[in-house]
Structures are given as structure tokens and as C-alpha cells.
Symmetry: C2
Subunit: 292 residues, 2 copies
């Protein structure tokens, strides 16, 4: 049976027992590497599982699904993903392909940032739609996410902003010359994300994001526990000013706090604030939280 | 250290390796039983862990948090929850209490219905805010969820509707007489949920839910794999008419499909439909999906 198995968020111990059984029983184990990453190297997973892992980039998952599914009627095959198995359409594609071949599949769920974001102290039921922020280039600065952000803001909802990662990326020159040379992986930092948001707010002028009046929370390495996880709250201006080592290694996500902010949410999150006094002042004066 | 550890969604094999380590190293293991349940009995977990499990109802988690956290500076203690560790405010309360005592904590994340709902084929980024539907009584028929549902509908977003469960419930008579006699657990069924939605639509008349024109998807025992999980799609009228065994044992959740439905989402979900032809007709004629 083909298994699409989430590894969870952080390291080799975040897999479920059912997921580990699926890996151990599989004749081939693929690791999807283009939508998210673990905090550890593939080699550590291989040692832990006692299995060779085949890296599967987007192109492979999209164009070689029949190879991934080869003999899956009679053998177990595992496609490992970080975060949610349904977070990327290519994972859905492979399930559809299996369905077309008449092969039953099993998805093994696990944590994803979509639910683990609750670690910042904001209630999950106060979140609206999730948006993604991609790296801007000279010629490509897509801002359709701003409409989603505004819809959430109009309702007072919080927004989870997923920050772009680039793995197996070609430079424009290498792409133009057809050279399969790839750049090192890149992960969008919190200050860069905030700078891009500010640029789009400047163009759109929708009043959704104000440097000193919009609260936000940066989450880094969620699920890594006290030694690794970092959660930092502040105004957008404050987060933009932080030196990179405040946030540390990837992956990073950002939450834009909505106007329905409850004072208990604000109090819980104040412990993560760059400056708890300012955090509470903004929560009170701009968001209308009553801390008495 | 106190651990708040999610067990995942279905059975004893859905815990992560890190979660299992936390359970094994803990001197006391509590199981939160009032917001969600696993498909298996506590005794099966106890056997699997080789540990006695202390059931923790809402009252206990709320009023005896110091007992749960006793000696947590020097010993490991685990509070097990089903679904998301931040899904219930009482879990947050215990983390706050530990913070007040100066005890570092660790949350071990896992799957919750908030992300596993992707199994129905709808994209997670097309979901708006999640709502909860409680059992109506003669005197208490709260309908504020309808405002949230309408906000999502106005934006065309899908809505995850969480259905009430009642554990350790007292009858009005036993409550009045102060008798600590509890009713058997109850779980809201899909037809009952749809009936309550119809009643509120009838009162509010907001045009959000139409029996023959609103598509919905019922998810049962998500994460249980091909032998247990059941996903059933249809119009609200169709879901309301289904006999209970179509959905089977708890837990059940319901998704109200929003107007932004993409034709690929509709096609994926059509495989779960009571009547795939009608499903696609409604997706085309009401939701504007183009299947050509």
C-alpha cells in the first residue's frame, strides 16, 4: 500500500508509531523536500530508520508518480512529507493517481503549522484563511495574498502567513542555459517577510498593516521544544528591526494578529513579546483589550 | 517537566515517538477526556504504555492543576489530549499555571481535525474560521456560530464544523439533586448536526445553508485508515437523510463547502459523494465549477 506519511515538524522523533511502521515495512521510502523541511538532515533519518531515503523534489513527485507507485498493489511504499500531507497539491495528485490505478492508499496525519501555530497563545478558532508569502524578485512581486489578509482583517481574524522556501532553485542564467545547477536552499526570514508586507501595504494602501499598530508573532522551529522553539511577538516595526539571530534557524512563520484579539490571548502571548509593556499598550489602545 | 502530549486522532499508534518517550518517563499520566476521544478504550492505552492512566475531566483539569503539576520541577508528568493541545482553553490554563510556578513545559504536537480535514479533498487554505455546534436542549439553542458561518460563506470559504460531545454529563434531575450520577457519553451525529443547522437557518434566514444547493462533507474517524475512516459528501438534504450506519461510530465532523470551491477540489471529493452525478451538478450549477 502507498503511505503518505507526515513526519511532523521538527526531527526524527516526531513521526508517529504508525508512521514508523509504514516506513519500516516499505520497500521504497521517498522524502518530499520542496514544501517544507525538518530541522535535521536526511542522513539522520536514514540512520534512524535503517533505510535508504530517496529525495523526491517537486518535479519527481509530479512527473514520476508511476515510479513512486510501482508495485504498490503488492508492496508498501512510503512518501514522507513534513507538515500536512494535504498541504501541497502534489501530494493530492499522487493520491489521485493511486486512485486511478485502483490502489488503496493510507495517509498518516501528524502535526502541521496549521494547528501547531496555537503554541503562540492565539486560539485556533480565531484564525481565518492561511496565506503564503513568496520571495519577491525584480520582476515578480505577487500581492494577491493581500486580499486574503484584508478579508481576515475585516473580520478581525488572525492570519497565519507561511514563508517561502526555495530548494533546488536555478539561477536565471543557469535556467536560461539549461544547466541543472542548483542554488543553496533559501528560507524567508521574519524581517524580510515584514519588509515585503510593508511594501505591499504601501502599494495597496488598504490600512491592513500598520508598522506601529499591528501586532504580529513570529514562530520559529515550532515543535522543537524549549531548547529550539522560539516565539517572538511585537509590532511589525519591532519584528522588522530584530537582528536575524533573534529568530535563528528555519523554518519561520508569521501570525498577523486580528482585531478580535481576546485579552486572555494577548496575556498569554505577552510572555513572548520583545517588549511586553508595549505589546500590552498596543493590545489595549489599538485592539481594545481590557486587562483589568 | 510537564508534557502536554497529543495522542493524535485514532488509536494508540498515533502517538509520536517523542510523545511515547514522555509518557514512559512520566511518574503520573493524565488523559483529558472531555473535548475529544480516541476510538479505543483507556485500558488499551494503559496496556500499551505499561502505565496507569488517570482520567482527567474538565473539572479536574480546571480545579486541580496544582495536583497535576505536583513535583513537576523534578519529575516528568504527562497530560494526554486527543487532537490539538491548544484546542481547548483548559489546556492553555495548565500551561499558564506552570508558567506562573516557573516550571518549563513542553507541548508535543500531533494531528488534529483542523489539519486532517484536508483528507476530504478540500484545500486547507480555502478554509475560514472553524465553528463548534453544541447539542440543542429545550431551553438552550445557541446560534452565534451562524454569524461565523455566514462570514465564511460571504468570502466563499469552507467551514469546518466541530460536533459536540458530552462526557460525564448529569441529567437535570441528578444535577438539581446534587447526585454525581453521569449519563453515558453522547456524540452528535451528522443528521442531527444538519437538522440543527437547518433549524438555525430557518430562524436567521441568512441564505447561508440551502438543503439542495449547499454541499457538505461528513468526516468520521479521520486518521483511522481505509478500514475505519469514512468520508461522505452530498447536499445538506442528502446528508440529513442518510441512515446513521452510513457514518458509523464517532467522532464526526462536518464541512460546509464554500463558493470558492475549485473544480479540482470538487473532483477529488466527488469520489466521496452519496451521488457523484448530483454532487457534480450542484458543484457546476450552484458553485460554478467548470469540469471540462
Amino acid at each position: 500500500m502507498p503511505y503518505v506519511t507526515s513526519l511532523g515538524l521538527f526531527d526524527e522523533k516526531d513521526i508517529t508509531l504508525r508512521g514508523l511502521e509504514a516506513v519500516r515495512s516499505s520497500t521504497r521510502v521517498y522524502l518530499e523536500t520542496y514544501t517544507s523541511i525538518l530541522a535535521i538532515q536526511k542522513s539522520r533519518l536514514e540512520e534512524f530508520y535503517g533505510k535508504t531515503i530517496i529525495p523526491a523534489d517537486r518535479e519527481m513527485v509530479e512527473t514520476e508518480s508511476d515510479e513512486i507507485l510501482r508495485n504498490a498493489q503488492t508492496e508498501d511504499v512510503a512518501l514522507l512529507v513534513v507538515g500536512d500531507p494535504f498541504g501541497a497539491t502534489t501530494h493530492t495528485d499522487i493520491l489521485l493517481r493511486a486512485r486511478a490505478l485502483g490502489v488503496p492508499t493510507r495517509v498518516i496525519h501528524n502535526a502541521s503549522i496549521t494547528n501547531a501555530v496555537g503554541a503562540c497563545g492565539l486560539q485556533l478558532y480565531n484564525f481565518g484563511q492561511t496565506v503564503s508569502l513568496v520571495f519577491f524578485t525584480e520582476t515578480w512581486r505577487p500581492d494577491s495574498f493581500y486580499d486574503r489578509l484584508r478579508e481576515n482583517a475585516d473580520l478581525g481574524m488572525h492570519t497565519l502567513v507561511l514563508l517561502d522556501i526555495k530548494v533546488k532553485e536555478q539561477s536565471e542564467e543557469n535556467l536560461a542555459r539549461g544547466r541543472k545547477i542548483y542554488e543553496p536552499p533559501r528560507y524567508m526570514s521574519i524581517p524580510q517577510a515584514v519588509a515585503q508586507l510593508a511594501e505591499v501595504e504601501g502599494v495597496r494602501q488598504g490600512g491592513v498593516l500598520a508598522p506601529d499598530r499591528t501586532l504580529a508573532i513570529a514562530l520559529s522551529r515550532v515543535g522543537g521544544g524549549p531548547d529550539n522553539e522560539r516565539i517572538v511577538g511585537g509590532t511589525l516595526a519591532q519584528l522588522r528591526e530584530q537582528p536575524p539571530d533573534v529568530f535563528g534557524e528555519p523554518l519561520h512563520s508569521l501570525v498577523i494578529v486580528g482585531r478580535r484579539l481576546h485579552h486572555l490571548e494577548a496575556e498569554y502571548a505577552a510572555a513572548f513579546a520583545v517588549d511586553a509593556t508595549l505589546w500590552k499598550e498596543v493590545a489595549q489602545n489599538v485592539y481594545g483589550c481590557n486587562f483589568d
